[in-house]
Amino acid sequence: MLTLAFMRHAFIASTFIAVVSGIIGVFVVARQLSFLTHTLSEIGFAGASFAVFAGWLPLNGMILFTMLSSVLVGQMSIKESRREAVISAVSGLFIGLGILFLSLSNQSASSATSILFGSVVGISAAEVHQLILLSVVVLVVTLLMYRPLKFSSFDIVGARVSGVNQTLISVAFLVLLALSVSVAAQIVGSLLIFILLTIPAASAKYFTHGVAKMVGLAILFALLGTWTGLLLGYLTNWPVSFFIAVIEVVIYVIALLYQNFVEAS
């Protein structure tokens, strides 16, 4: 299977995506940004369809749209009371724009499908290189700001009184999240992005009580999903995203059962 270039590309891409998703996901869950992640994926869809319309690579359109809007949403929804409404409004607007750009670009339904549901098996060498580069940027920046990010994500009150610059960390994290959403969309598509960016991390927190261990487990769960998904997709010719979604959800259900078991004993 790995003698086929497209499968090799798919495996390399999905490995980087799983690592990025595992790390960023732990902070997404801790900062309670799952809903925002969902919105960013819809914004990513609009960005990708804009790119198709403008004749760019879809990834570039996604990065542009998600970066701009993540900061915008972050600023608009500082007040928690209105966060949900702001996010709903913004996501509605961007899905609308996505549909418009797709319609204007006269592309067939298949390009919409590949943006929405991912097309990892069709990923080219150049796209793999770009994806690796972006993943490395996300990972390096995350490592550099790891301690203040960890503090503000897991104890916002303590971080504030200890002089961590909340605004800087928050904006920087939203930019990282936007990049991660764009990267992860390549494999699972923009509709299922939160499958990798939130579920592995949400499952991990039931098994361990340390941040580093949570990151490790989240990466492991994401890798398990993407690798097994690719393998099953190759064997059955069914969509890879479907398998990834099912595997991650099964892991989450096991995590919840484990938690109930621990609480009961």
Binding site: A30, L143, L144, Y146, R147, K150, F151, F154, D155, I156, V157, G158, A159, R160, V161, S162, K205, H209, G210, V211, A212, M214
Partner: protein, 224 residues
Amino acid sequence: MAVLSVDDLTVAYGDHTVFKDLSFTVNDGDFLVVVGENGVGKTTLVRALLGLIKPKAGTVNIPTGTRIGYVPQFRNIDEEYPLSIRDFVALNSRQSWLPWLTGKERHALDRMIRITDLTPIAERPLGLASGGEKQRAYLAQALLPAPRLLILDESTASLDNEMKYNLLDLVARFQEDGLSVMFITHDWDLAEHYGTRYLHITKDGYSTGSIDELAELRKETVEC
């Protein structure tokens, strides 16, 4: 030597003046208790000291490089909170930027966990800890960078009597080693038991002095 000196501090929200022309100092090794009814601006004062709100007038002087530890009144830690007590305390390890703790930081963390009697429960999730254990963990986190001044904002409010004294005994041990403490409370018994100086804020003004004077003041207040 003064760790903190406040001169003619006035804080207002819009037209509403919370307190006016407040002056006091905290010296090395002091245990200053800040007492007063709810709503007189005790927490507002702390926020102004930490630079979280801008005062309308007056100055807050803290010698350059002085570290302040702060245990806030409220914290959003629920049962689902995922970190262990040890990892929660370690969040305030800030000597290095490395993703893992350095040997020196690990040593300081272990020591702090031991001194605050958290060793047997250090690996348990903080979300499942009792009220007293949580307060000890908050205290350990605030004390980890070895601050010169520790500010406790109603840290004993949710605890039963025995727990209150346990927690403050622990703080007093650090005070004996030279830590200055500013303890905000409305429990006058605790204030008299642990304080060396007091600051009493009322709606109309304030008074400050040695702890013996607080006992006098209390008698007067009760007699009134």
